[in-house]
Amino acid sequence: MNIKVKCVYFQVKAVPELKRRFVIPGEVVAHGSLRAETNVMRVGDKIVSTRVGMAEIAHDAVRVVPLSGPYIPRIDDLVVGKVIDYSAFSWEVDMNSCFFGVLPAQSVFGRDYSPAKDSLTDRLAVGDTIAAKVIAFDRTRDPLLSISGPGLGRIPRGQTVKISPAKVPRLIGKKGSMIRSIESGTNCRMLIGQNGVVVVVGAPDDILRAITAVNLVEDQAHSPDLTEKVQGLLGITPQEAQGEQFQERPNDEQVEPSESTVDEATRGKTDEGELSDKEPEE
């Protein structure tokens, strides 16, 4: 039997190298028929940056990764907020943004919520810190939050720290490497909201060290050897940090199981973290 084997060669197209450049508002990032993604606008043939940041041209898309700026909610973001008010039908949440989050009572009590029967303060009081997810936002109305989901809801303890929302991806690091370094170096558990609010849970001394590390990351977010600096600060060797990445984390009695889920949820998001891939390879 004569079998003809036909060889098919797939030509693997070389992935074009990511081009990065520092830009300021008004500066032309690219020309031509490229796709304008985030923080850029099209003016005729040109694509112009609208922020101070790093311009990236990859494949046919152009975007600018901003280095400063307020938190603008995006759908599916995990945020850490504080309940500041409530009405008969919803809570109002300060989420470190120019917009206040709205958490409808129906999403907590279920569809048969009745203001006559149920009291909002039974579930969340003014001053409570919550982990929530943005489920709807289009700038014309305040962002709609939800606390139904694994790891969402009231955060019972911990210390909150605010950092610049633009530096959140850096704090998380590539696939969560930075946060993992800090957690293992300080014996704390951390929850990072995309809005720049970080909750640190642990022993008081450990919390202080973790906060120092978080502030270091914020201050020196653009330094290329940041990972080493953080490891130096916390006194961990790079090998330890490397080993940590593949270790299953032990179950910490101090932390609610729900929180570790939140942790993972946050980390899942970091793969798309914009600044995270800036970190140098170890």
Binding site: G26, V48, R51, V52, S68, G69, C98, F99
Partner: protein, 250 residues
């Protein structure tokens, strides 16, 4: 308030140099720093000759009083203020007619560069505080405010760079200082968006004929472009370190 145009012959000497030794197309030394105030969302400090001006941006944030919020865009509020110690004689700290006017033209000069529609129902506050004044403070203030807005991470179409030109001792000069402003014949402050070449502020105090106006306008635009380079260097220097400042803009 017209220009006195008094004894202006001595303002430019035989060598064509001005009272502070500058050529007619030379700016005063300019220094810009970014991110100098920790509490502000964005800030900048500018030294434009003897002018020392601080700009701070707060926001976007919720609007108080709530009824003044705009449903489709952010509300931009500007305050230009001269400190009581900024002038030779103590200045009354209450906002004067001049300061109210400059606050308004400053807002109108910055507004076209800002993408206010990205932040509906919010307010952006811009404070420009003159610590030491030396003529041309509105231009220096606009330049600093624009850098502070970029530092605050507010979406902008372009930066705004400002510079004045004027007529002193019968000659058109760039960047008039306090003495030249008082003794000279005209002052033409302009602000531009340098990348898109659009004018956002143009005022004229005094009289210029067509030819003089065109020359003064071009001088001022050149001055703005020099200011823009310094704004750019200051911003890139803050975020990426001085060594990263690339040559040339576009």
């Amino acid at each position: 308030m017209g220009k006195a145009g008094g004894d202006s012959r001595s303002l430019i000497n035989e060598q064509g140099l001005r009272i502070d030794g500058r050529k007619i197309d030379e700016l005063r030394p300019v220094k810009i720093e970014v991110g100098i105030l920790r509490n502000a969302d964005g800030s900048a400090y500018i030294e434009f000759g003897k002018n020392k001006i601080m700009a701070a941006v707060y926001g976007p944030k919720e609007v108080h009083p709530k009824h003044s919020a705009l449903p489709d865009k952010a509300l931009l509020r500007c305050r230009y203020h001269m400190s009581p110690f900024s002038t030779e004689e103590r200045k009354n700290p209450a906002p004067s007619r001049r300061e109210i006017e400059i606050s308004k033209v400053m807002r109108e000069a910055l507004e076209p560069a800002l993408m206010l529609e990205d932040y509906p129902r919010t307010a952006i506050d811009v404070f420009v505080e003159v610590l030491q004044s030396d003529g041309g403070s509105r231009c220096a203030g606009i330049s600093a405010a624009s850098v502070a807005l970029a530092d605050a991470g507010i979406n902008m179409r372009d930066l705004v760079a400002a510079c004045a030109a004027g007529k002193v001792a019968g000659q058109v000069v760039v960047d008039v200082d306090d003495i030249e402003d008082k003794e000279g014949q005209a002052d033409l402050p302009i602000a531009i968006m340098p990348s898109s070449n659009q004018v956002t502020l143009l005022q004229l105090d005094g009289q210029l004929n067509d030819e003089e106006f065109n020359k003064a306008f071009n001088f001022a635009v050149q001055g703005c472009k020099q200011v823009y380079q310094l704004q750019r260097e200051a911003l890139i220097g803050k975020y990426f370190g001085r060594s990263e400042v690339p040559e040339g803009g576009q």
